[in-house]
């Protein structure tokens, strides 16, 4: 397992934060990513804003909209990633819908993403043979296409998906869109157990995780917890006060009391 993402998650108790690139602005976004790397992110998911995020709940929809209004596009997301890479070795996964990637060009993205230190790409609306083709193209550039599985995914599909999977498996905790929920359904644990039958890759659970207790609960049966909307909501709450970085830091204090995560990623020259 030479994959940097896999390596970073293999010891369990992994933490995968999501932020939309360029929300509230590029500089703050970079500072937030550095903070997350320093405070125990095993992998950072960097959201590429899109006009029609059909898998996302309102918090990430609004975040995406803010980033678009700031003029953020894939070129700027990659620039942000390479600045992060200059000071941290944290693995970075782009989280995107297919259309911005198609418009940018797959081959172009492979080359640019590699240069920017991107380790993986997750494309929400690519499944089946379309996903397999993309995965093969990315793999030629040592970039892992991350596969999503859901409680509705049959064992037959799980087997096929796991056979081609790289990096880690992203298990969607429950049928629905992204966004905080009161509790993590039993669906998630059952799904992770089913996925384990087909792969040795680390499994992360996402959608709806927003508290320390939920992260602990997920760590009991999965290798990592993804937290997105809860972080993005702090960024949204900071728009007036312009204290996005410290708000996210306060949230992380709550989500991950110090030393809880398995390891932290060194950030060079960080002013945090």
């Amino acid at each position: 397992m030479s994959d940097r993402i896999t390596q970073s998650l293999k010891n369990g108790r992994g933490f995968i934060p999501f932020v939309t690139a360029g929300d509230p602005d590029d500089a703050s976004s970079l500072e937030i990513c550095k903070l997350l790397a320093e405070r125990g992110a095993s992998v950072i998911e960097l959201g590429v804003p899109f006009s029609d995020p059909m898998a996302d709940g309102v918090v990430i929809q609004r975040s995406s909209q803010r980033a678009l209004e700031n003029g953020v596009n894939l070129t700027r997301v990659l620039s942000l990633a390479s600045k992060l890479r200059a000071s941290s070795d944290v693995p970075v996964v782009l989280f995107s819908y297919l259309n911005p990637i198609l418009r940018f060009g797959i081959e172009e993205l492979c080359a640019e993403a590699k240069r920017s230190g991107i380790d993986g790409v997750l494309i929400v609306d690519a499944v089946d043979s379309e996903a397999r083709e993309l995965s093969e193209m990315f793999a030629k550039h040592d970039i892992s296409l991350i596969s999503l599985v859901a409680p509705t995914t049959s064992d037959e599909r799980l087997e096929k998906i796991c056979r081609n999977a790289r990096g880690f498996i992203y298990a969607v905790s429950t049928a629905g869109v992204t966004g905080a929920r009161g509790s993590i359904s039993n669906d998630a644990e059952r799904l992770v157990a089913r996925v384990r039958k087909f792969t040795d890759l680390p499994i992360a659970v996402g959608f709806g995780i927003s508290t320390h207790e939920q992260i602990e609960a997920v760590w009991k049966f999965a290798d990592a917890a993804v937290v997105g909307s809860a972080i993005v909501a702090e960024i949204e709450a900071s728009l007036e006060t312009q204290d996005a970085v410290s708000r996210v830091e306060a949230l992380i204090d709550h989500l991950l009391p110090l030393q809880m995560a398995t390891h932290t990623h060194k950030v060079e020259g960080s002013q945090l």
Partner: protein, 399 residues
């Protein structure tokens, strides 16, 4: 030439299934139910009964003598989908899909609507079968189609306003998809046009092809021959593909889909997906022509007609366009408004603003055709819903 999609829902490079993993299983379940219904005589008998006794089919193919005289040139026949129950072709698809939903044991229906015609048709079939109905509608469309909102509510549906993006049809589809993915166990997504992930484009086309099957038979009865030209408006494209599909193998029949030219040629001023600079992309589950910016974000669109105001188009249209089988043209807001009044005045038929686009294009080409040539224009819906906004546009000089 082959006009059927492959088993993954691709017509050439167009179509397919681009959805989050959670929706794959419900789409497979839907596809299985759809394929089973296709081979089931009982399903067809039940649907035929509803189409006849509930919706009033077959709809007439009416010879528009005075319109033809005013324009000169071709003989114009109107396929009167406006005479369906609920006033538009949308009911054809809704009756088919509601029977599927019942077979699948679903108890809650969600739908999107642009002009409100599909929302009204969905609310109607839900009332007919006693199913819970939620309709998503962009707040901009709610503003310009107030009457249809009230109709849906009268029929027992809950109308949820969508305030994201351009607040039109595209945004309503996003929210309907979000609802479906959250409630897949009991909910059926009754998509209203030949759009979205496989099997919707195929399924909606199948349920709408009754338009073309009837028209083909009726025109031969009326005139003893096939038509020279078919014209229909294209938003998502369900009324057009419904009329065109049964004629695709009739080589002598020309077909033109009419898009919304809006108020200008700049991006954001129209909904002409096939206009100059057209590009292919993936939106809402399907690969097709899409109005988008350089970064792959979906462009805002404009049309006086809410039902044509959509940034993408059904994948089968994209395929047939590139294959050269169907031509596409566009007419402007003002041309559609003129046609709206012209058909009202010459034939006593007030068409929907969507259908007025087809009439406007027919008015352009009829004079160039000879008197022995025959053209069928699809009047996809009636214009009652638009009367108020047209009154404001005529008296107030636009919005």
């Amino acid at each position: 030439m082959n006009f059927e999609p492959d088993n993954k829902g691709y017509w050439g490079e167009f179509g397919g299934r681009f959805v989050p993993e959670t929706l794959v299983a419900p789409l497979d379940e839907l596809n299985d139910a759809f394929l089973a219904s296709r081979d089931d005589p009982e399903f067809h008998a039940e649907l035929a009964t509803l189409l006849r006794h509930y919706s009033g089919r077959p709809t007439p193919l009416y010879f528009a003598k005075r319109l033809g005289e005013e324009l000169g040139g071709a003989q114009i026949f109107l396929k009167r989908e406006d005479l369906n129950h609920t006033g538009a072709h949308k009911i054809n698809n809704c009756l088919g899909q509601i029977l599927l939903a019942r077979r699948m044991g679903k108890t809650r229906i969600v739908a999107e609507t642009g002009a409100g015609q599909h929302g009204v048709a969905t609310a109607t079939v839900c009332a007919l079968f006693g199913l819970k109905c939620v309709v998503y509608m962009g707040s901009e469309d709610i503003r310009r189609q107030e009457l249809n909102v009230f109709r849906m509510q009268l029929l027992g549906a809950e109308v949820r306003a969508v305030d994201t993006g351009s607040r039109t049809l595209k945004d309503a589809i996003n929210d309907a998809l979000r609802d479906w993915v959250t409630n897949i166990v009991d909910t059926y997504y009754l998509l209203g046009s030949a759009l979205g992930p496989h099997p919707y484009p195929l399924m909606v086309r199948e349920f709408q092809s009754v338009i073309g099957r009837e028209a083909r038979k009726q025109i031969v009865e009326h005139t003893g021959k096939l038509p020279d030209q078919l014209v229909a408006c294209v938003g998502g494209g369900s009324n057009a593909i419904g009329l065109f599909h049964p004629f695709l193998n009739d080589e002598g029949v020309r077909m033109t889909g009419v898009e919304a030219g809006g108020r200008g040629i700049g991006l954001g001023e129209h909904a002409a997906r096939f206009a100059k600079g057209a590009s292919v992309g993936v939106l809402q589950g399907t690969r097709s022509y899409v109005l988008q910016d350089d970064d792959g974000n979906i462009a805002a669109t404009h049309s006086v007609s809410a039902g044509l105001d959509y940034a993408s188009v059904g994948p089968e249209h994209s395929y047939l366009r590139d294959a050269g089988r169907i031509e596409y043209a566009s007419v402007s807001d003002s041309e559609a408004l003129e046609a709206f009044q012209m058909l009202s005045r010459t034939e006593g038929i007030i068409p929907a603003l969507e259908s007025a686009h087809a009439i406007a294009y027919a008015a352009k080409i009829a004079p160039k055709m000879s008197q022995d040539q025959i053209m069928i224009v699809n009047v996809s819906g009636r214009g009652d819903k638009d009367v108020d906004s047209v009154r404001q546009l005529i008296n107030g000089g636009g919005r």
